[in-house]
């Protein structure tokens, strides 16, 4: 199976073990280091944002992540049942400002979008769904 499904509880301590499982899975499939790095980044940025800002209650929630690497293409899907939020609707940060004037809000999703070939958002049956894909040619 090239696809791994993970359920990450909405607390920060749950991210690292899930990321570790993802890395082991992708490495076992022979995915390139850059693909593992990108999957790591997608999970870290999106799940962190969801835990921080996604929920209007203090209940336990699970963020569902699926990671797939097949035919040289990485696909990471992140689903959460938080309030409706399209992270792609946020304005990109101004990365040309001098470091002294930086406000890094929105930088995480900016990194994910720039490093992926394609990032899509949809609201599906009460879930926010973000899907990031990138193709890694074999000669890389």
């Amino acid at each position: 199976m090239s696809k791994l499904d993970l359920q990450i509880e909405n607390n920060f301590a749950a991210i690292a073990p899930a990321s570790e499982r993802m890395r082991a899975h992708l490495e076992s499939l022979g995915a390139p280091a850059a693909a593992v790095f990108l999957a790591d980044l997608v999970i870290e940025e999106l799940v962190t944002n969801t835990i921080k800002y996604g929920y209007d209650d203090t209940n336990a929630h699970c963020v569902h992540v699926s990671v797939d690497f097949s035919d040289g293409t990485l696909t990471v899907e992140v689903r959460d049942d938080g309030h409706e939020f399209n992270p792609l609707s946020r304005e990109s940060p101004d990365v040309t400002l001098p470091a002294e004037q930086r406000d890094i809000g929105g930088l995480g999703i900016h990194l994910v979008c720039q490093m992926s070939d394609d990032v899509r958002y949809e609201r599906r049956d009460g879930w926010n769904v973000v899907i990031a894909t990138k193709r890694f040619p074999e000669d890389q």
Binding site: I15, A16, E44, T96, A99, E100, I104, G108
Partner: protein, 115 residues
């Protein structure tokens, strides 16, 4: 389990070299922030962050880097980075940090830049 990020500190050529091992993620960023805050409070003026052992960098790690960079820049100090891996370098580039924070190929070159 991946061990948490750790930072070895050593003084070399007028710099405090911070050799980072591990992931500059949400948790790692906090460790880095505490380390640099402590160093700056102790009077360090020139920090060299050695990224040779950093295998992952997220936006929280960038933020943890910019804070001490800003603090030092305001007081006549410097923070520079050295030894970036390919993916980490790409994150620097996309975040535009490569245009702000000086990047060196080695710790030696970073230290020499202060002379």
């Amino acid at each position: 389990m991946t061990p948490p990020m750790k930072i070895d500190e050593r003084h070399e050529g007028g710099a405090l070299v911070l050799k980072i091992e591990g992931r500059l993620d949400h948790d790692g960023a906090r460790v880095f922030e505490e380390c640099t805050s402590r160093a700056i409070a102790a009077g360090e003026k020139f920090l060299v962050a050695d990224f040779g052992g950093v295998d992952f960098l997220a936006s929280m790690g960038i933020r943890a880097l910019i804070k001490p960079y800003q603090t030092l820049a305001q007081s006549g100090g410097r923070l520079v980075v050295a030894n970036l891996g390919d993916s980490v370098r790409e994150v620097f580039k996309i975040a535009g940090i490569d245009q702000a924070v000086p990047i060196f190929d080695s710790v030696e070159a970073a230290i020499a830049s202060q002379a």
